[in-house]
């Protein structure tokens, strides 16, 4: 548990962990809306589009403080979103094409600006790396405070406008008919998403930010059917990925933080889709098998019942072999009969013969009435 001790003693690790946790919480919460509204890839476009914004912010102000660069990133991200919306609404160009064009062209412009900047004498090797892959290891207190403040503000807005945003995400047209300014709420939500993205760029970089928008929410969705709980779970899972990624990358050699966080997130997603109750794949498999078994057992009961009805005494014993044949599935009916016996619905009345108990008869009667035939 030396690792956890380190979390408290090692300044750098603490900063990276806190920054990553903040990122996870904010992008997990706001990513929920993006995923539910089918805007998963918009996050990718906004991330890439942020690059020229960062460059221009630097060129205009000469400052490299996080808040300035984030402002530039946000402005560019917003501009990209506007362009995507307006082009898709005014021409035949489709949404996915616009995402691809905006992403690559903005990024290209950003590259031109960055290489242009690098030629200038006063520019330090701020490096493309920082924005492309994030440089979580370089996070200092000021960065984390900025992230937390902006992220916190975004989350507070999300909570204040909770029901309005829920309405916007589920049924915007209905929302308009009852009087809510849906377009303005859409702008609000997009702004919150842009904020979530820009605060994460420093940590995981442009390329991987899209995963931090999509993954926590996708994982969170598997664990609950309620929006509020989904937001909380996604935030928590995002934080867990953030901190784990920070810790793992600091303890192991040569593990860049950004990708490590994303990989942790990937593991969390995998666990979620396999193990989550109700939706999880393993769960579903078990449930399906259980259902099939139940149906099979019921079928054997009803077969025995049907046979019994042909006698004066419906509890007349019958041969296993007959039941085997009657069953539409291959294999012996004995396991099912054993189960039925355990439940007191049938009883063995000979070496290979079985008959209904009183309880079994009543149940079969009732089932027959319910099924109407």
């Amino acid at each position: 548990m030396e690792i956890f001790q380190q979390l408290f003693t090692d300044y750098t690790l603490r900063m990276v962990a806190m920054g990553s946790a903040t990122l996870g919480i904010v992008s997990g919460s706001l990513g929920t809306y993006a995923v539910l509204r089918g805007q998963s890839l918009l996050g990718d476009a906004i991330s890439h589009a942020a690059l020229p914004g960062i460059a221009i912010a630097f060129l205009l102000t000469g400052s490299k403080t996080p808040i300035v660069l984030m402002a530039g990133a946000a402005a560019a991200g917003w501009l990209a979103t506007l362009l995507i919306m307006s082009v898709t609404q005014t021409t035949r160009i489709k949404y996915d094409s616009m995402l691809g064009i905006t992403l690559s062209v903005f990024f290209g412009v950003g590259l031109v600006l960055l290489t242009f900047i690098q030629r200038r004498p006063e520019a330090t090797q701020a490096g493309l790396d920082t924005f492309l892959f994030g440089q979580a290891a370089a996070l200092v207190r000021q960065d984390v405070i900025t992230m937390a403040a902006l992220g916190g503000a975004a989350l507070i807005l999300m909570v204040i406008f909770w029901k309005e945003l829920k309405l916007l995400s589920f049924d915007p047209e209905f929302g308009r008919t009852i009087g809510f300014p849906i377009r303005r709420l859409d702008i609000l939500l997009t702004t919150l998403l842009v904020i979530a993205i820009v605060i994460g760029l420093q940590t995981v970089g442009v390329v991987l930010m899209s995963a931090m928008v999509v993954a926590p929410a996708s994982a969170g969705r598997q664990w609950t059917d309620r929006l509020g709980v989904m937001v909380v779970i996604s935030a928590a899972l995002g934080a867990v990925a953030g901190v784990s990624g920070a810790v793992v990358s600091s303890t192991m050699r040569s593990m860049p933080t950004g990708p490590t966080i994303v990989l942790c997130m990937g593991v969390i997603v995998l666990i979620s889709i396999l193990l989550a109750p109700n939706r999880g794949i393993i769960w579903r498999r078990i449930r399906d098998r259980r259902n099939a078994r139940r149906l099979r057992i019921e079928a054997v009961l009803m077969n025995l019942y049907a046979l019994g009805l042909q006698h004066a005494d419906p509890q007349h014993p019958h041969e296993e072999a007959v039941l085997d044949v009657m069953s539409s599935e291959s294999g012996s009916a004995v396991p099912a009969l054993n189960r039925l016996q355990e439940q007191g619905l049938v009883v063995r009345s000979g070496a290979t013969q079985w008959s209904l108990t009183q309880k079994g008869l009543m149940l079969a009667d009732r089932l027959r009435k319910e099924r109407g035939g």
């Binding site: 995923v35 089918g38 064009i101 690559s104 990024f107 590259l111 031109v112 030629r119 899209s210 994303v262």
Partner: protein, 371 residues
């Protein structure tokens, strides 16, 4: 005059642009543009593993490994979507960053000292492309990238030319294609394989992001200019080439990243076409709307008069003053419409009333039938 290096760089990037534009056009039409982004990032681990196996950055195994990874990416996205736990865009946005991260981590841990620089992978730098020569029997035949890219471009062209009919059908009417036995799924995977191959080959020269720009941008630009597949392919190739050349000179002027400049020029051509395209462009649409506004309003007027003709309230409805209120037209506009309609001999004025001429009646009827 241009140096040999400059000529070679331009040649290479032109070939890259052509190789990308061809399959990219289909991505645009099939609404799968973001697959280019996903694949070009997701093939990184494939390249790395290929490198681990061969220890040779120039080995064709790399292309093979990366292409396999590309197809795997597509399959993974599909599997995830089929579980119904994800929507398709979420699946894409999940799969490629994770694969990319795997690639980055592999590089950092096991190949940190080798020139498999993630910067280069992502951004590419065409300026370095000519340095890698294609040498056979001690004869320098030119830059290696040119030949590799050329081969890929040829492959793409042959594929499209050979399966043109099938591609066209599968793209525009998948159901019919399946019914006719053209196996749209196979075509889909074939296309994705080509995209992967193209992306890998192009990495060296231009990097992942420019691959996306060159695949989607020219195709989308062409989509604004034509409705026919053949023309679309041709125009996208031309736009790609123009972006390559102009991008090169832009980078030259600004002393900046060539890949970035080319992506910028793709944006430039797209934006220009967005505004200026003769039929689908925004300006043309605005002009058309303005022209049609008068025609449309005249039609609305005649239909309105026709609908109320002969009815008790016709007196009320057909008063000119009433029109403004009824049709929610501004007075100035209403007056001008009426004047237009009079000039075109569609209506007649009696006192404050309007009456349809026979021609006006015909126009109204015709409009109704048209719709």
């Amino acid at each position: 005059m241009m140096t040999q290096g400059q000529i070679e760089i331009q040649l290479i990037t032109i070939v890259v642009a052509v190789a990308c534009a061809l399959p990219g056009t289909f991505l645009v039409l099939r609404k799968m543009a973001m697959m280019s982004d996903a694949i070009s990032h997701a093939i990184l681990p494939g390249i790395v593993i290929g490198f681990f196996l061969t220890h040779d950055l120039n080995s064709p195994i790399l292309i093979l490994a990366a292409s396999v990874t590309g197809v795997l990416t597509v399959m993974l996205v599909e599997v995830l979507t089929k579980t119904r736990l994800f929507k398709e865009d979420a699946a894409i946005g999940l799969v490629f960053p994770i694969l990319f991260s795997i690639g980055v981590v592999l590089i950092a841990r096991f190949a940190g000292d080798v020139h498999l620089d993630t910067d280069a992978v992502l951004l590419g730098e065409p300026a370095f492309a000519p340095f890698d020569r294609f040498v056979i029997a001690d004869r320098d035949l030119g830059p290696r990238s040119l030949y590799v890219m050329g081969a890929v471009g040829l492959l793409n062209a042959l594929f499209i030319a050979g399966l043109y009919k099938e591609l066209k059908l599968a793209t525009f009417d998948a159901g019919l294609a399946a019914a006719l036995g053209f196996a749209p799924m196979m075509i889909h995977y074939a296309l994705m394989t080509l995209i992967s191959i193209t992306a890998v080959a192009a990495f060296d020269a231009v990097g992942a992001i420019l691959v996306v720009a060159l695949m989607i941008g020219p195709g989308a630009t062409a989509y604004l200019l034509t409705d026919r597949l053949g023309w679309m392919l041709g125009i996208s190739v031309l736009v790609g080439m123009a972006s390559a050349i102009s991008g090169f000179w832009l980078a030259h002027m600004l002393d900046a990243s060539i890949a970035g400049a080319m992506a910028t020029m793709v944006g430039f051509f797209f934006t220009g076409t967005y505004f200026l395209a003769p039929r689908h462009g925004v300006i043309a649409a605005m002009l058309r709307r303005r022209r049609n506004k008068w025609v449309f309003a005249e039609k609305m007027l005649t239909i309105h008069l026709l609908n109320h003709e002969g009815l008790a309230e016709a007196e009320q409805e057909n008063r000119i003053a009433h029109l403004e209120e009824h049709l929610s037209w501004e007075s100035a506009f209403a007056r001008r419409i009426v004047k237009h309609a009079q000039d075109d001999d569609l209506v007649r004025r009696f006192d404050g009333y309007l009456e349809l001429t026979e021609q006006g009646r015909d126009l109204a009827r015709q409009t109704i039938v048209e719709t």
